[in-house]
């Protein structure tokens, strides 16, 4: 429930008041912060924009400490049109559903906000709770011994129709050494 509202926020689909309320709860809950970070990562990856460097949070926090500007959502607060102009066409007509747009164009601001929240949250709390972003230096985690067929199956699978889980590959290795006659 919370996750789907968060996702709506990332996509710029929440009303102003709802967004502020949700941001307040994000600040308080680590799980939501992680989810928030993940949603942005996915968005960035899908848009093929570069990911944050591994030490982004650290560097940002350090810089923020030197120069304590408050990056509050209030900064993108909307203005209501004067009452007498409401419903008028033309240049006086302002959007009826002002949104906090945090995706795409505003992604830099959004990411800064995440880092800011992580910084705020970690200040005075245990350090392990920060959402970390790691760019893997190497290929997938499961580096396995050379003499098995699982890696070939995985590579082949990219071009065939089969989606199998890692467990199958493990079993495949076992089966092959049993049945391979060696």
């Amino acid at each position: 429930m919370m996750e789907s509202r968060l996702s709506a926020l990332v996509d710029g689909e929440l009303e102003h008041e709802d967004a502020l309320t949700l941001l307040a709860s994000v600040k308080e809950r680590q799980a939501l912060q992680d989810e928030w970070m993940l949603l942005h990562l996915i968005g960035d990856t899908l848009r093929q924009t570069p990911s944050l460097s591994p030490d982004f949070n650290t560097r940002f926090s350090a810089q923020l400490a030197k120069e304590p500007t408050v990056l509050a959502p209030r900064a993108i607060c909307h203005e209501q049109p004067p009452a007498e102009n409401r419903g008028l066409p033309g240049r006086w007509a302002l959007p009826h559903r002002p949104l906090i747009k945090l995706s795409a164009a505003a992604s830099v601001a959004a990411v800064s906000l995440v880092a800011w929240m992580a910084f705020q949250f970690n200040d005075g709390h245990e350090s392990g709770s920060r959402a970390n972003v790691v760019v893997a230096e190497n290929s997938p985690s499961g580096a396995r011994p050379a003499a098995n067929v699982s890696s070939y199956l995985a590579a082949h699978q990219e071009y065939s129709h089969v989606m199998q889980d890692g467990g199958s590959y493990q079993r495949a290795v076992f089966e092959t050494s049993q049945g391979g006659g060696r």
Binding site: L46, A131, V133, P145
Partner: protein, 323 residues
């Protein structure tokens, strides 16, 4: 007149080219085209099983087709949790690791069930006879069944169950030369059409850390004119689709990976130097419906695998040579 008589004789004697057969093939081909398009153009969500050898895997799929293209999520329901999110040609794989992290892999992946049929059916009609079979049922839907009968011994027979109402492929079996099912996909439940909520096509796997593993480090597509290693005479109907260099777990040097296809079945050829002090495994083996054949050429190891009969991978391996 004499030519006409000859033609008439041929029609009677050789059932393979009878007019009825040609008409039937055309009808069957319409179903195939319908199935190839439906898997890409329809909205659907459901659960399917993939059975191969004595393994059964269950996955859930949600597929959304809208003005921005195809969006899809496939998640495994048994074994290791894994979510594959596809946005058109972009595929991201999410999986948790032992440290409560989420590993996000950007990768390429062939079309998955029910999108088993390629957009271009030329390869299939060249290598298989497409035949209307009978009517049947799959996942509670009335289906038209189609048989893809191989024209030679280098590929398997396939049976397809296509939803009569929408054209969506609901079940697909691969059968060997003894007509035994060696692998099959089947929806156990499916909803076709209607709205697919955004929630259904977003990743759910969460974790404390996010590890992004980048595909370019794993495989690099090579120019087609890289001809250090070639397959001189691939089995009939198979042609090379791509060639790449890839890093593989536990190997110090990149492995060359050549991919062949007959329009439906895929065969991979891997070439790599034999690691020092490592005695390579040789000969034929298999994993589920995947046949594997390994041999050496000098100091190089050749590994061929594919969802094809054993003879096909063996012939492919024996036809590899260094230029």
């Amino acid at each position: 007149m004499r030519a006409l008589f000859l033609a008439a004789t041929l029609l009677v004697v050789i059932p393979g080219v009878s007019r009825a057969d040609v008409a039937q093939q055309t009808g069957a081909l319409d179903w195939l085209e319908k199935a190839a398009a439906a898997a890409r153009q329809l909205n659907y969500s459901g659960t399917y099983i993939y059975q191969h050898g004595d393994h059964v895997e269950t996955s859930r799929i949600a597929h959304l087709s809208n003005e921005s293209g195809e969006h899809e999520k496939v998640e495994t329901l048994d074994g290791a949790p894994r979510e594959v999110i596809r946005n058109n040609d972009e595929v991201l794989c999410f999986k948790p690791d032992s440290n409560a992290s989420v590993i996000v892999e950007k990768r390429r992946m062939g079309q998955v069930f029910p999108a088993l049929l390629p957009k271009q059916l030329g390869g299939i009609t060249e290598n298989y006879r497409v035949q209307l079979f009978d009517t049947g049922r799959a996942a509670g839907h009335a289906c038209q069944t189609i048989i893809l009968e191989p024209k030679d011994q280098y590929r398997y027979r396939h049976k397809l169950w296509i939803d009569r109402a929408t054209g969506l492929l609901l079940k697909a079996s691969t059968l060997n030369e003894h007509n035994e099912v060696i692998g099959q996909f089947a929806f156990t439940q499916i909803t076709i059409g209607g709205q697919i909520g955004r929630d259904l096509i977003k990743p759910k796997i969460a974790g404390r850390k996010v590890v992004i593993s980048s595909e370019p480090a794993i495989a690099t597509e090579l120019q087609q004119n890289d001809l250090t290693w070639v397959v001189k005479q691939p089995p009939p109907g198979f042609s090379q689709v791509t060639v790449m260099k890839r890093l593989m777990p536990g190997k110090d040097v990149p492995v060359k990976h050549l991919v062949f296809s007959d329009g439906l079945a895929t065969v991979s050829v891997f070439v790599e130097p034999v690691a020092a002090g490592m005695e390579p495994m040789l000969g034929a083996t298999r994993h589920g419906a995947t046949q594997i054949y390994m041999r050496t050429i000098g100091d190089f190891k050749i590994t061929v695998l594919g969802d094809v009969p054993a003879i096909t991978v063996k012939q492919m391996a024996n036809s590899v040579s260094k230029n």
